[in-house]
Amino acid sequence: MKRTPLYEEHIRLGGKMVPFAGWEMPVQYSGVIAEHVNVRERVGLFDVSHMGEIWVTGSDAEQALEYLTCNRVAALVDGKAQYSAILNESGGVIDDIIVYRFSPERFLLCVNASNADADFAWLTQHNPTTATITNASADYGQIAVQGPKAIDLLAPLVKSVDLRAVKPFHFIEAELLGTSMIFARTGYTGEDGCEIFVKSERVVDLWRLLLEHGESYGALPCGLGARDSLRLEAAYPLHGHELGTDISALESGLGWIVKLDKGDFIGRAALLAEKERGVARKLIGFVLDDAGIARQGDPVVDPSSQREIGIVTSGTKTPTVQKALGMALVSSDHAATDARIAVSVRGRAIQGRIVPLPFYKRTKV
């Protein structure tokens, strides 16, 4: 099992370590609910050093990425980030990623920990150009600073640039602790925040600085448990749950990042055909009205016919929304908002209904 450079810090802070995607990661420190609420109300610090980083460089880097990812890479400018995905030939999702453009010849992909090696192998095998693809996952650590106080906490530390001027889904390189770091206005919690890419050997220094300086902002270290409940409220998909190689990008609600008109890319032909014949399943949000909690894998049933219409991809009772809720892949003819559904939990039908996503949206100030 792999450990991030912050392993000893997590132990010292009382982090409860669990296996996740081949890594030993903290699931919680003080408690999932307290950490979740702290991110919604103040700010939380997450070790996301397990995430993978892959560089795509060279004069035809953009051309390579147009073919290897489904979003429009040409829409990026230097300093801008883009949510995208690596698809297989049948339009299934190998991974969802963020593409950062540093220059027309230099792009960084941030990929899921569990998929980093597979992504790198796939990209290398399918690269249609002479662009260089480098797996730099071991070189970087990442800390996510998330919450309404995230930028208040960070801005005074990073003196050489104005972090407040960095817009959502943009990033900037700046010095902190005498080393260059990447500050990206991105996150996975539904709150404002920043994800900081830092050289592996400096992650501990950055973590300690953020904890110490963050104390007056109410910063708490937060684990994977809160990260999961936060992302679910924000309805961000998670690979292995809402996304997978056997779920098409159109089914899993990624249609908005699939640019069928941009020219050829892996998965395009299959998705064009799927669009033509109609998408069979749809990712929906639901809340349960009866007592009970739906979990991944629970069958979704049509309460009038008792017929199985889909499957739960994620579900829990979340701390901010305080409802038993979740997301599910259901057949498209049963996916209308407000439709009654039931989820079979341990053999018992729990009544609920389809609701619009997301469950939680922050109020912008």
Partner: protein, 126 residues
């Protein structure tokens, strides 16, 4: 961690406290700490017969659902309805307000076989 002397324990991390002919059952402080913040308890129906070591009810954290096993054979005489509104009582006070069920029709021989506080404490190493 606290493991009251007036309770008996199972290797599955339930505690039992006798109140006359009834056994009050809950999960231990060790168990609640391992599970994390609980957000739902799927309580059994009153009157249900339960067998020792069989699933008695389910407790759920934000992350997962976990079975709670009945420490004894018996009948569910009462359930702690306060857990429906506040499952966190199990986290806060696992041996008092966080009790889960009361069992009647229990057998003394089964109670005898449960672990003492000291035995349980050495099992979990706390």
């Amino acid at each position: 961690m606290e493991f009251p002397q007036n309770c008996k324990y199972t290797k599955d991390h339930e505690w039992v406290r006798l109140e006359g002919d009834t056994a009050v059952v809950g999960i231990t402080e060790f168990a609640q700490a391992e599970l994390g913040d609980l957000v739902f308890v799927d309580l059994p129906a009153v009157g249900k017969s339960v067998a020792a070591h069989a699933t008695m009810c389910v407790v759920e954290s934000t992350k997962a659902a976990s079975d709670v096993y009945s420490p004894l054979t018996g009948t569910v005489a009462a359930v702690n309805d306060a857990l429906s509104a506040d499952p966190g009582l199990i986290n806060k006070t696992p041996y008092s307000d966080g009790w889960i069920v009361k069992l009647s029709n229990i057998q003394a021989a089964e109670v005898e076989q449960l672990m003492s506080a000291d035995q349980y404490k050495s099992l979990v190493g706390k």
